[in-house]
């Protein structure tokens, strides 16, 4: 059964590493839903958080193949464990005078912030997991979303629970 998986991949912070991973996925026909790369607390190590999907046999191959790349230090599949997941979204939504109050209320409920205002639009900043992001996008859609920028998902274990 095809399922969404969040992989946390620690890699050497070197030129070309991202291309090795992206190349592996395109070359073998694996899916990348989103990809997020940044440095970690440790110098020379970056974390790639990747959302991918596939059945269990494909996922097993993906994890092994990624692990096989010489610059990959560790691959963890967060999906079967307790983890926290966040994504940041910037969205520019049409905001005519008669809709402004409603849009602000929705933004408030989702603990978003308006980071830019114009005559006819708001730019809103939302942080949350996939469900929350999907929910607010659905609610704001009727007003007309002009533009969206998403960071892609980042995630980590919940330390206390995963230890048991």
């Amino acid at each position: 059964m095809t399922k969404k998986h969040i992989l946390s991949i620690l890699v050497d912070n070197e030129p070309g590493v991202l291309s090795r991973i992206a190349g592996l996925f395109s070359g073998r026909g694996y899916n990348i839903d989103s990809l997020c790369v940044a440095e970690t607390a440790e110098p020379f190590v970056s974390r790639i958080t990747m959302v991918t999907k596939g059945d269990s046999m494909i996922l097993e191959q993906i994890k092994k193949q990624v692990n096989k790349i010489i610059n990959v230090i560790k691959v963890t599949d967060l999906t079967d464990q307790e983890f926290v997941e966040r994504e940041l979204v910037l969205l520019k939504v049409n905001a005519k005078a008669e809709h402004r109050a409603e849009i602000l209320r929705i933004t408030d409920i989702f603990r978003g912030q308006v980071v830019d205002v114009g005559q006819e639009h708001f730019t809103i900043n939302i942080i949350g997991d996939t469900d929350k992001i999907t929910a607010i996008l659905t609610l704001l859609k009727p007003f007309g979303i002009r533009e969206i920028a998403r960071t892609g998902c980042i995630a980590m274990f919940r330390e206390n629970k995963s230890k048991s």
Binding site: V11, D12, G16, S19, R20, G23, L24, G27, M57, E60, Q61, K64, Q65, N67, K68, I70, N71, V72, I73
Partner: protein
Amino acid sequence: MSKLTGAQILLRMLKEEGVDTIFGYPGGVVLDIYDELARTDLKHILVRHEQGAVHAADAYARASGKVGVCLVTSGPGATNTVTGIATANMDSIPIVVITGQVPTKLIGNDAFQEVDIVGITRPCTKHNYLVKDVKDLAKTIKEAFHIARSGRPGPVLIDLPKDVSISKTSFKLPDDVQLRSYNPTYVPNRKQLLKVVDMIKKAKKPLIFSGGGVILSRAHKELAELAKKNKIPVTSTLMGLGGFSGMDPLWLGMLGMHGTYRANMSVSECDLMIAVGVRFDDRVTGKTDEFAPYAKIVQIDIDPTSIQKNIQVHVPVVGDCKISLELLNQMIDHEDMGELKPEHQQWLDRIDNWKKTTPQVYDQTDVIKPQYVIEKLFELTKGEAIITTEVGQNQMWAAQYYHFTQPGQFISSGGLGTMGFGLPAAVGAQVAAPDKLVVDIAGDGSIQMNIQEMATAVQYNLPVKVVILNNGFLGMVRQWQQLFYDKCYSSTKFQHTPDFVKLAEAYGAVGLRATKPEEVEKVLKEGIVCKKAVIMDFVVEPEECVYPMVPAGAPISKMLLV
């Protein structure tokens, strides 16, 4: 501390890694390296095409068990290596390819003969490097050799900009390689092996299925012990030929698309399959759902990605083939195993019977049969030659009719199926084994893909023998057209082929030809004893097919026999 140039460091490090021979071709950005090379005792084999350099280094590695090395220039020199690198990558062969690169300052500017070879070869190397600072060079070379030869071996490329090979730095031997991101598992999990012992004890129809991993880890002795002590018949992939003696009564021959009847039937009926150093390629499994349908499958491999990729196995064992088999042999207590079970004996009898009822045969007529040439070659060389092959029918007949007894004796492009591999491979193998007879079993098509390496063979007095099975066709493709495309021989017949005897002579080699069956033995004998490079042109039956054959995608028990 002495200061050395990048070029000097490179050559010094090659010596440190035990390299004595390089296959290469010079050009602008590697001039400094070649200049230094002239002052060392490293042997450099000047090939005639960079693809030839890589295949030669690859076969050198296969024949010797050492890492093969090549050195080429940037741009076209580098791109010419790609087919060779992909060939080595598919067959897990340890080579290090050093490409020159334009000076670091010019990288990215579309400079003359600039190409992003690191980008191009990323998907077909085990790993690759662009060295931007001469201070990193020694360490990078050490790492490259370590990665190429350890774990599941493979090709590693080092791209070396011209300015890096000129600049100087103080040289110190690098420490041993420690990579926290790369630690292959050599010693397998004991619990998994205990399961295997138990399964062997219970099995009534056991089968060993061995592959290239057995050759790469030189696990042939351990494999023979496992097979013989437990009376388990052995089949292997093309890449595994020579991992178990082709003369042993337990040997079934190769399995798969052109496997023997008994090998494919054994796979289809066995109740235990011990797969060692294989990756279940589609040419082996046929239709995967019907592969070994009654078997519990054990898979031993050093590369976890080879396990559960194409075939679901019951007991995965991640480890080096040699170490794993050695431990397994130690763990099997033969007293405890008791007498051979009657069902097991029946299994062996059944296989013997298959051998008798469906032997590998061909009709002898008044035209030369290609199979006959290989049979005679086997006989006259006493089975002791190193055989390289091209790709196509010639390759399959070589695999079927020559019987191999040693790892590194059969050298063929299995995974990529690269036409043009055989001749440069023969050159590389002959350099690695100067005292052995090296024969390239070739097709009239493939041989023309790297024929220029005849000049290399002649220049270095390498007495390689080329046996051309000249059928006037791209035979294997024609066979598919005959069987599956209503004999529409679209673009598979050569309307013109050079005279290979004259061509041999033009290269300064010896050319011989046989056109009738009764000439075969004489030509082979004359070719074999000749101290020079020889091309033997055997004009064979044009429309012979390789049998048995499993049509692509069919279960391997469904073979076409003639």
